[in-house]
């Protein structure tokens, strides 16, 4: 019987007496598996087994199933060790600045519930405005390209280098404005998914008042897969 067990012995025995045979049997098996069987439980179990030897089989099967569930559960719960309490170690000025950048531009991305902030810093806008560079991909000559061509070149070059995964098929309309000449001006987002290898990721959480704050994600070496 475990040290934490607090059930009164008489009450436990009385409980068995009051139960239907099947339930008493289940309880006995359960107590044996959990190491909670008292001497009188064992006496009952042996007496029962003398008449119905198949109870040994039930005990073995149940014990084996318990072990299987335990092993799988422990395996699945291993992710719990990666979950840290928020706050404390993430209170760095740099992180805050990066997060304010994200909060300005990351409206649509927040919908994905997970924002990755790379600890090397966000890409600066100067990169994108330099001739010959698009979103940090060097070597793409765009001086004379039309915007659409330039964009296609960026996607192609990015996909070749592995930095661009794809463009999202849906474009998000931000604003529509009727113009005096009868046409309509449409402002919309074109979303491109990029891939980057980073040192540190942060999971964005929201408190009950809606404030967003970053929580570092601990990634163990050798693990693979999306967060």
């Amino acid at each position: 019987m475990s040290a934490d067990d607090n059930i009164n012995h008489e009450a436990r025995d009385g409980m068995l007496d009051e139960l239907l045979p099947d339930h008493a049997r289940d309880l006995l098996i359960s107590r044996v598996i959990d190491g909670r069987a008292s001497t009188s439980d064992w006496d009952r179990f042996r007496a029962l087994a003398a008449n119905e030897p198949e109870i040994w089989c039930e005990l073995a099967t149940t014990h084996q199933q318990h072990d299987s569930v335990r092993d799988e559960l422990m395996n699945e719960l291993s992710v719990a060790d990666r979950v840290e309490l928020p706050g404390g170690i993430i209170d760095e000025e740099g992180t805050r600045q990066r997060m304010s950048f994200v909060s300005k531009w990351g409206g649509w991305a927040i919908a994905a519930t997970l924002i990755v902030v790379w600890s090397l810093g966000m890409p600066t806008t100067s990169h994108t405005t330099q001739p010959g560079f698009i979103a940090g991909i060097p070597g793409v000559g765009l001086k004379d390209a039309e915007p659409e061509q330039a964009f296609e070149q960026y996607l192609d070059a990015g996909q070749r280098s592995g930095q661009v995964v794809a463009e999202m098929p849906e474009q998000v309309v931000v604003e529509t404005t009727p113009l005096p000449d009868g046409t309509i001006e449409v402002l919309y987002l074109r979303q491109v998914i990029e891939r980057r290898v980073i040192d540190q990721a942060y999971r964005m959480m929201q408190d009950e008042t809606g404030n967003t704050f970053p929580v570092p994600v601990r990634v163990e070496r050798g693990t693979y897969g999306a967060f």
Partner: protein, 230 residues
């Protein structure tokens, strides 16, 4: 069953008991735990971290017992951790901690999990990333899992009715006694014991039923193959 297997199970029987010492140790543990919860309630970060370290696995088991299949356990646990940090000071009694955090875990598992994961997945699905990633992850998971049989048993346990599933899973954590499970679920120890025992019987019956169906299906397949042979 072999004699060796039976003896090994019988070996669980404990030796002479000392109820007084056991009770004293239990009281000590209770005081320590309550002390940690009290300190955490007052804003002691070390106590909070200790409490989280001590609790996250069984809280994870509760989340697993109530979350949808698609929901991500890590995401949900992160939300529970955040709620615990933010609201532990509102707890009235340190002894109520387990029940309190369980309620938070269940609410988060039920309300948040499904919609968040759906959103995340749908974003990835649009660009055709999800199948490849998931496949790779599944393969890695498969390698880590002990066996197909264990998985089958575990999935069957996850399919038990919630009232039975939760105590059966919690009992698989070595650190959770019946009393602690009862404490968390707000139920008497005798009820917990009955639920675990019945839950295990249900599991046995579900798996036996599955085996029967599988055997029947195989027999049919073989029969039709023989019948269909020229």
């Amino acid at each position: 069953m072999t004699g060796t297997r039976a003896e090994s199970i019988l070996g669980n029987e404990s030796g002479p008991r000392t109820p007084r010492r056991r009770k004293r140790r239990k009281l000590n543990e209770q005081r320590v735990n309550e002390g940690v919860v009290s300190a955490a309630m007052k804003g002691d970060r070390d106590a909070l971290a200790l409490l989280w370290d001590d609790s996250r696995r069984w809280i994870g088991a509760i989340v697993l017992a109530h979350k949808s299949r698609e929901a991500d356990l890590e995401d949900l646990l992160q939300q529970v951790a955040m709620q615990m940090c933010r609201k532990i000071s509102t707890l009235d009694d340190p002894r109520a901690f387990r029940g309190w955090i369980r309620t938070i875990a269940i609410n988060i598992a039920r309300a948040e999990g499904r919609k968040r994961t759906r959103r995340k997945r749908s974003m990835l699905r649009l660009v055709g990333m999800e199948p490849a990633r998931d496949h790779a992850r599944e393969q890695a998971d498969e390698m880590a899992l002990a066996s197909e049989e264990s998985r089958r048993v575990y999935h069957a346990a996850r399919s038990l009715p919630a009232g039975y599933r939760e105590p059966v899973l919690l009992r698989c954590l070595q650190s959770m006694s019946y009393e602690q499970i009862g404490d968390a679920m707000g139920l008497p120890v005798t009820t917990i014991e009955t639920r675990i025992a019945r839950g295990r019987r249900m599991l046995r019956e579900i798996l036996a039923q599955q085996q029967k169906q599988e055997a029947k299906r195989r027999a049919n397949t073989q029969g039709s193959a023989i019948g269909g042979a020229p």
